[in-house]
């Protein structure tokens, strides 16, 4: 009797777990449909605004022909390895932060190297074995400083010269980086910020960095409808990520439900075998006991 009860209990537990999963699955399907409706209306609104912009500016001026082939992603996603959750990442802000940290590190190294420790610089150069690296900045900067102080064309004193040299070093550092990195470093600030670079002739020369905002591909003065479309599609990205997570969760639940269904079938088979093996009088007694 205990065997039959245990088998039935196991079967009931599997059925209960399966029911809970089915309820969760149906709830997720409902969320998926809600998210789809929300994305549909948002995208529809966005596309209507783009159509308005096309009408105002002309269809050729808002088309794939206007895409900037130097574009870099400003927004991406991050997948958490533990929970498989997906989050939106601001790649632009991360790039700006990374460059700020690099610049601070280079300034620290330059400050450490610029106290005249040429021997250390030589030692580091030999150790690294590369022709040009960050540790050489100190000695190079010292050499440039001497050259800048003796040569013509430098308008004012040491402060500006060192600013120029710093800008020049930044440029020469970037020369050794990949082209991709160069493009992103050029567009590193949000709105046309300036850096001071030095040439042999000019004390200050302002260089405008490229603004990576995709809105500018279509011109400087874009209609409000195109700006609104950008805002709507940016909000839509969050909805898309939510829908992606719902889809991932649905696939996980499907796998669990398939496993539980197999377990349920096995438990049902075990229950029927245990019932078939019991004598009729004992079975009747068991059933009465269960009803009580």
């Amino acid at each position: 009797m205990p065997d039959i009860t245990a088998v039935h209990q196991a079967h009931n537990k599997v059925c209960q777990d399966l029911d809970d999963l089915v309820l969760e699955y149906i709830s997720l399907v409902n969320e998926h449909l809600t998210a789809w409706t929300r994305i549909s209306s948002r995208f529809q609104e966005g596309r209507e605004l783009i159509s308005q912009a096309k009408y105002i500016m002309g269809p050729k001026n808002v088309s794939a022909d206007c895409y900037d082939h130097r574009m870099k992603a400003l927004r991406g996603v991050m997948i958490k390895s533990s929970t498989k959750e997906i989050e939106i990442r601001d790649l632009r802000a991360e790039e700006i932060e990374r460059q700020r940290v690099e610049k601070a590190r280079e300034e620290e190294e330059a400050a450490a190297g610029g106290t005249g420790k040429d021997e250390e610089g030589n030692h580091r150069r030999q150790k690294s074995g590369t022709g040009y690296d960050d540790q050489d900045q100190g000695s190079i900067r010292a050499g440039l400083r001497r050259r800048g102080g003796g040569g013509g064309g430098v308008a004012s004193g040491g402060g500006e010269v060192s600013d120029d040299l710093e800008g020049k070093d930044d440029k020469s550092d970037k020369r050794h980086e990949s082209p991709t990195k160069n493009a992103s470093s050029i567009g590193s600030t949000a709105t046309g910020s300036t850096t001071t670079t030095g040439t042999s002739g000019d004390a200050t020369k302002k260089k405008k960095e490229r603004n990576p905002d995709p809105l500018l591909w279509f011109g400087v003065f874009v209609p409000a409808s195109l700006r609104s479309a950008q805002s709507i599609f940016q909000q839509g990205l969050q909805d898309l990520v939510e829908m992606a997570m719902i889809r991932q969760r649905l696939i996980e639940l499907e796998e669990k439900m398939t496993t539980l269904r197999e377990a349920k079938a096995a438990a049902a088979a075990a229950a029927s075998v245990s019932v078939a093996g019991t004598k009729p009088l004992e079975l009747e007694a068991d059933l009465k006991a269960m009803k009580v």
Binding site: V29, V77, T180, L226, A229, L240, A244, E254
Partner: protein, 112 residues
Amino acid sequence: ERTFMAAIGDEDSITGLLLAGIGHIDSHQKKNFLVVDAKTPLSTVEDAFQEFCKRKDIAIILINQHIAEEIRPLIDEHDQAFPTILEIPSKDHPYDPEKDSVLKRVRRLFGE
């Protein structure tokens, strides 16, 4: 690291998504998007989809539902968790629950 979102869709959808900032062209001129119009051959769409699936830096592939229907066998074959395939609404094609891949899975799961 899977960071980027790829997109396959009509011009307006792609323009909108690029305005949102997901567009990326790397140093080898490899894009993470494809604009599909009436003249785009099916093989181009299939090749782009397969390439996006193979890339290790793409986390999500967005595709218009009516384009997904054209390459449904390829999408059904894709069984990896990432990149996740997400069908998005199309401009001139209203939502059709019969074609929704998620609802198809639900019907398959419950034996319809």
